[in-house]
């Protein structure tokens, strides 16, 4: 009996996690470079009340036993790395990655972090930085008097100076790719960190032979959250929560009746 109560409670907990995950997805529906997450569930262990194959009599065995499950748990919420929509911004330092790969930025701690959000800016020394001020890695500096800035699909950053016809190269943006991007650790601010599960980054030039995507200047990648999908999930999750609460109620009623047996 306690089993039913705890199974239902585990179901309610799991649905709560689901709703929290949906809420975060919807809240980030307008975050550039955001990737939606999807919660995954698993059934818990089973109690074998009657073991399959146990002897029923001296000559026969139980063909299948009685297994009672103990509920569910949220096991992971993996990042869905599908491409988001592109929106044109005409900002020369906005870039999208068409395909796999992450921009690398250097955090103040000296550690590299990885991001899909290609909204970059220049800081007061002319270096390309992300909206939080983290330096793009490898660092690229644009002189103050540069007129136009062009980023090629292979990541080559070039600019022209006043009075010069030829473009100057400032450097080449390198992208990182991971064997298992779902294993990356989200650290907020649209940044990811490498883990043992993600494997070490494979660094390559955009559009190169290493399988990383190419760059497109002047666009921003929208989040890949589908509002319709999230709302459908929300309805399903809410109903499942309700069903589990009904089990709690039924179990409680049964208990009450057992208690009433003794008059």
């Amino acid at each position: 009996m306690i089993r039913a109560l705890f199974s239902a409670a585990s179901g309610m907990n799991a649905q709560q996690t689901n709703v929290e995950n949906i809420a975060n997805n919807i809240a980030n529906a307008n975050t550039a470079g955001f990737k939606a997450r999807r919660a995954q569930f698993q059934d818990l262990l089973y109690q074998n009340l009657i073991q399959p194959g146990a002897a029923a009599t001296q000559n026969t065995v139980v063909p299948t036993g009685l297994q009672l499950g103990l509920g569910t748990r949220a096991v992971s919420n993996e990042v869905i790395f599908t491409q988001g929509d592109f929106s044109e911004t005409d900002n020369p330092l906005d870039m999208v990655i068409q395909g796999n790969g992450f921009f690398q930025v250097l955090q103040p701690s000296g550690q590299l972090a990885y991001t899909k959000a290609g909204t970059f800016h220049l800081n007061n020394t002319g270096q390309i930085v992300d909206p939080n001020g983290n330096l793009l890695d490898p660092p690229i500096t644009i002189p103050q008097n540069a007129l136009s800035l062009t980023i090629g699909s292979d990541g080559t950053v070039s600019y022209t100076l006043p009075g010069q016809a030829a473009a100057q190269q400032a450097g080449q943006i390198q992208l990182a790719n991971f064997v298992n991007p779902s294993g990356l650790n989200s650290i907020g601010q649209s940044l990811f960190q490498q883990t043992d599960a993600s494997g070490a980054p494979v660094i390559g030039a955009p559009g190169g032979a290493d399988g990383v995507g190419s760059l497109m200047q002047g666009y921003v990648e929208q989040s890949n959250v589908s509002i319709v999908q999230e709302f459908v999930n929300l309805i399903v999750s809410q109903r499942a929560y309700e069903a589990n609460s009904k089990v709690v109620k039924a179990a409680d009623d049964m208990y009450q009746q057992v208690n009433n047996l003794k008059q």
């Binding site: 298992n180 589990n244 009746q257 009433n260 008059q263």
Partner: protein
């Protein structure tokens, strides 16, 4: 104890176990690849039942559960590493102590490029080996389970089908184990849909109806015990009055 109380108490106990099953089903209504459980009632007959003709000597009990292996809905997820399975077969993964079977087609790459489950158990290909994929390249899965990368095949997903899937035992974490040792057959008529995942086949409305039924049956049996107690009380207090 009198017959009515024994019978009704056994009935109450088995309804409680039924509710346990319903609770687990509903708790897993969002678990990918989960298969709902039902119960099989039987009559437990005591040894004396054959000789004793004075009344019922058998009580209801749940003998075993059965698992509904019906197809769950294939939900689109847009994740290229989600494989939705239609048909009667199972994915085969290499568990820590032998093969495990699952309908949950949510895989990911591990850091060596093998397709693994959430626990890190590798998905097996037809030849019994884990896959080795180039994770930088997109991956296409055909309906018959052939995985293609860069225009070439890197192997075919192994699917197992069981003559009698009720012999499979639930292992937890969406896995089944083959408890009776029957040889799995090659899959026939199963198809793999990339970018979809098979949802749990638990029907919430069915669960709700079951809860109502169980609650009412439980109530009736509780009433039966109360009436039986009253009868006993009357018999002792009033019949024996001198």
């Amino acid at each position: 104890m009198d017959q009515i109380s024994v019978l009704a108490a056994a009935g109450m106990q088995s309804r409680m176990q039924s509710l346990d099953l319903v609770a687990n089903n509903l708790a897993n209504s969002s678990t990918g690849g989960y298969k709902s459980d039902g119960e099989f009632f039987t009559l437990f007959s005591s040894e004396a039942a054959g000789e004793d003709a004075s009344g019922p000597s058998s009580v209801p009990m749940i003998q075993r559960q059965w698992t509904d292996f019906g197809q769950g809905l294939l939900e689109p997820t847009n994740n290229p590493l989600d494989f939705g399975l239609s048909g009667k077969s199972f994915f085969v993964v290499q568990g820590p102590s032998g093969p495990l079977y699952t309908r949950n087609g949510n895989f990911r790459f591990n850091n060596t490029g093998a397709l693994v489950t959430n626990e890190g158990y590798p998905l097996l290909q037809q030849n019994g080996q884990p896959f080795k994929a180039n994770t930088a390249q997109p991956l296409q899965v055909s309906l018959d389970g052939e995985i293609n990368q860069n225009g070439g095949s890197i192997g075919r997903i192994k699917l197992a089908e069981f003559h009698n899937p009720t012999d499979l035992t639930k292992y937890g974490a969406n896995y089944f184990t083959n408890s009776t040792g029957q040889e799995p057959m090659d899959a026939t008529g199963s198809q793999i849909y990339q970018g979809k995942i098979e949802a749990s086949n638990v029907s919430a409305s069915h669960g709700a109806v079951r809860i109502v039924g169980l609650s009412r049956q439980f109530e009736m049996m509780q009433k039966a015990i109360t009436i039986s107690n009253d009868m006993g009380k009357k018999a002792i207090e009033e019949v024996a009055k001198v």
